[in-house]
């Protein structure tokens, strides 16, 4: 029912959609977070993601199980990238299936919002003239 993984290679959104589609579900919602080419007016060259892998998987599984309990999600795939990402590449793919559409939107939003707050994954933005760990300082 859940497929939660970290990858060091490009993510496969089609695989996530296929995973949650099995079995005649009514609605499928997909969120893809991808690498922006700028932050606060500065051009981003690339991103580097780092994860505390066993805990990141465990926290994403908790979030997915909560989405099943709270929104009645049928199947959920959460694939997150780690390592070096170029502009435009997908950092995260979240696919959710539910019986009806409204719950699919709510579950997908719940998963990405909570992931950003609790999952131990860190992002470094590399600029032409320096680098910064995102959100590290107030």
């Amino acid at each position: 029912m859940l497929e939660i993984k970290l990858f060091e290679r490009p993510l496969d959104a089609k695989h996530c959609i296929d995973f949650v589609s099995e079995g005649g579900v009514g609605a499928i919602n997909v969120f893809i977070g991808s690498v922006r080419d700028h932050t606060q007016g500065k051009r981003v060259v690339r991103l580097e993601y780092e994860a505390y892998a066993p805990m990141a998987i465990a926290e994403m599984e908790k979030i997915a199980r909560q989405a099943v309990a709270q929104f009645g999600a049928l199947k959920i795939a959460v694939h997150h990238r780690v390592g070096t990402l170029e502009i435009g590449e997908a950092a995260v793919v979240i696919a959710v299936s539910t019986p009806h559409r409204q719950a699919s939107f709510e579950a997908c939003q719940y998963i990405i919002d909570t992931l950003k707050q609790t999952v131990p994954i860190w992002k470094k933005e590399i600029f032409e003239d320096g680098e910064i760990w995102v959100a590290a300082h107030p």
Binding site: Y52, P54, M55, A58, V92, I112, P120, W122, W133, V134
Partner: protein, 80 residues
């Protein structure tokens, strides 16, 4: 007792290494370790937030540590 400390993201830059062996008194609590880490690496205090996890679970300061526990220093996360 000896525990393992793991540092991620900017915390790894601050401590200078991913893995640190740490010696603590018996029955030390997570808050004791946090105070020691912040004393040795004061730049940790400048972060927007700092959480600690024990054996891959977020834990509070009153958690009691045991020999060979793995404590992760978790600066503000930024996944997605």
């Amino acid at each position: 007792m000896k525990i393992s400390v793991l540092a991620f993201g900017i915390a790894k830059d601050i401590t200078g290494q991913r893995f640190l062996d740490w010696e603590l008194g018996e029955n030390a609590k997570l808050a004791d370790l946090r105070a020691e880490l912040e004393a040795k690496f004061p730049a940790l205090l400048e972060l927007a937030a700092l959480r600690l996890a024990v054996n891959s679970e977020y834990a509070n300061g009153d958690a009691v540590l045991k020999e060979n526990d793995e404590v992760a220093i978790i600066p503000p996360v930024a996944g997605g």
